[in-house]
């Protein structure tokens, strides 16, 4: 009845059929990736052809000029995006990395509950996070002090929340790759688990952790929805001085590239529409730089190990 010792003689046409199927599937895979790259190429082509002519020095140095749009720029949006990324990192990095370490080290009911909720958090649409921050932060403050509420801080907070699950997950996955022998060596010398994590495991995985951070930043840099309800937008720099040093005022509304692109792209003024394309080129470039930095971080690590 059981006949697994008999070898099935391959039938000739069967082999040919399998070979053909193999060819077809490989070709399909290749075509699919060509399609993906083509779409990316088309997007970049449109962006550049429409926006490149509006990119000049003024674009990076000037504020919007509604009398002569051509003389204006988006410096406050670029600056705003950088400030927001910084703020989001201040919230997202420590929580994400510590959370990732916790996921790796802890077992049990609570840990798996945390894992489940971070997966859920990861799946929450960004607009919902925007509404959430609006409801718990922006609206209450606006109620207390009419005219305030929208702020750089609120936007950074929303983006920071979005970073947490991504960084947690990548950190955990990367730390898992550090050989157990490395931990044993440290624990065997009398180090605590935390010390082992901080001084040995985390540094060994440094490149990968940085890659995760860069990818998370690249992801949130282009987010618009969470900013709609939180930063309001601003056509000026708002700063104040702390010990004589100019710092951004985090409690004031701030601008961001994606939000400015959204506003300009839907405007009637063709000059503003061109500015929107130019802003998109700059935004894509920023994301590209972050992605390249992400790859470079991992590459650096590999070299170092050798």
């Amino acid at each position: 009845m059981v006949n697994n010792t008999t070898t099935v003689k391959p039938h000739r046409s069967n082999v040919t059929r399998r070979k053909i199927a193999n060819r077809i599937m490989l070709t399909l895979c290749m075509l699919a990736s060509v399609a993906a790259v083509t779409v990316l190429g088309l997007v970049l082509f449109f962006l550049i052809s429409k926006g490149f002519s509006s990119i000049n020095v003024k674009f990076f140095t000037q504020l919007p000029n509604h009398v002569d749009e051509k003389a204006g720029g988006m410096s406050q949006s670029i600056y705003g995006t950088l400030v927001l990324l910084g703020l989001a990192s201040v919230i997202g990095l420590p929580l994400g990395i510590l959370g990732g370490i916790y996921q790796l080290e802890a077992k049990g009911k609570f840990a798996s509950a945390v894992r489940f909720f971070t997966d859920v958090l990861n799946g929450i649409p960004s607009i919902v996070i925007g509404i959430f921050v609006y409801a718990v932060w922006v609206a209450p403050i606006a109620k207390l002090h009419p005219g305030t509420g929208y702020s750089a801080f609120a936007g950074g907070f929303a983006l920071g929340i979005m970073m947490i699950p991504t960084i947690m997950r990548t950190t955990e996955e990367i730390l898992k790759l550090v050989p157990f022998s490395m931990r044993e060596a440290s624990l065997g010398l009398g180090a605590t688990r935390w010390r082992t994590m901080w001084s040995v495991v985390l540094p060994s995985a440094r490149g990968g952790v940085i890659t995760g951070i860069m990818l998370a930043l690249a992801r949130i840099a282009g987010e618009t929805a969470p900013l709609l309800f939180t930063i309001l937008g601003n056509e000026f720099f708002v700063t104040h001085k702390v010990y004589g040093i100019k710092v951004p005022t985090l409690t004031a509304p701030i601008d961001a590239l994606p939000l400015r692109i959204y506003n300009y792209a839907t405007a009637v003024d063709p000059e503003q529409q061109r500015m929107a394309w130019a802003g998109a080129v700059v935004l894509i470039t920023l994301i590209l730089v972050l992605s390249i930095a992400a790859r470079a971080a991992t590459r650096g690590k590999v070299l170092e190990e050798k």
Binding site: M1, E184, A185, L189, A191, S199
Partner: protein
């Protein structure tokens, strides 16, 4: 329906059971040496798996004690009970007692961090940290609170000399430890252990990943270290056990079948299976 599958699963007939259980008498005849580690009726479990059975052993101070036996007999497991490295594995359980200088190391009040400082470990595969040679050595002293640069410099030189590595690496202390050869890395790992000033050094097949020349150097090193440290070494290699140790314990299927002076184990063992093993008839 054929029944091949279920036949395959049947366990082979049990090997002949031991005639004598040597574990009760497992104390080497060294009345002059102070006992450093005493294990009493130690049973150890990985979940339901009974990995160590009623182990009794007395490890004398400032000597090399070798643990031999076929693969999977529990040598590493036993070694790792001595610095509580098995605590890291979920679902493990130990009964009986193990004392170090008379104090129970599994006592509730015992700090495992302090124990591991006192009982250092060298692993089978060299496992330097991804740092410089200097920082590798200083890792231990630093976690135990030494910050003074001059003191650390001294520790690095002293331990690297102690591990017979100083001359080879003194000009590249601030280079990555990964740049060293396997044998050098293992000596670095020994130096790293010496830097926390342990009393006992556990070595789990420290030479099995090394070439003969590096093996020779590490064996020499053990001889040099013996006067100051109590060394317990697990080895696959019976010649090595014979060369480096004063006591030898033979493990088989989770039991310590025989423990005696190395010369006795290799020339005149009392247990049949010990004799079969040391004469190369199995394992």
């Amino acid at each position: 329906m054929t029944n091949i599958a279920s036949q395959d699963k049947q366990t082979p007939p049990a090997l002949s059971r031991p005639v004598v259980n040597a574990s009760a008498a497992a104390t080497a005849n060294r009345p002059d040496a102070k006992s450093k580690i005493v294990a009493k009726d130690v049973d150890f479990y990985y979940g339901d798996f009974h990995a160590l059975k009623k182990i009794n052993i007395v490890v004398p101070e400032h000597q090399v004690t070798a643990l031999i036996g076929p693969s999977g007999c529990g040598k590493s497991t036993f070694l790792r009970t001595l610095n509580r490295m098995n605590d890291l594995i979920d679902g493990t359980r130990l009964t009986g007692s193990i004392t170090l200088d008379g104090a129970d190391i599994y006592d509730r009040s015992r700090e495992v961090v302090g124990l591991r400082k006192q009982v250092g470990m060298v692993f089978q595969k060299p496992n330097p940290f991804p740092m410089t040679i200097f920082d590798n050595i200083c890792y231990g002293p630093r976690i135990h609170g030494i910050r003074n640069r001059k003191l650390l410099d001294e520790v690095v030189e002293r331990t690297l000399r102690g591990a017979a590595l100083w001359d080879e690496v003194k000009d590249k202390l601030h280079k990555s430890a990964f740049a060293l050869s396997g044998g050098q890395q293992q000596r670095l790992c020994i130096a790293r252990v010496l830097a926390v000033e342990p009393d006992v050094i556990l070595m789990d097949e420290p030479c099995s990943a090394l070439d003969p020349n590096s093996t020779f150097r590490i064996e020499q090193l053990m001889e040099d270290l013996r006067g100051h440290y109590t060394i317990v070494i697990v080895t696959h290699n019976m010649q090595q056990a014979a060369r480096v140790s004063q006591q030898t314990g033979f493990f088989l299927r989770g039991e310590l079948r025989e423990f005696d002076d190395t010369s006795t184990i290799f020339t005149n063992p009392s247990d049949e299976e010990t004799e079969a093993y040391v004469s190369g008839r199995f394992g």
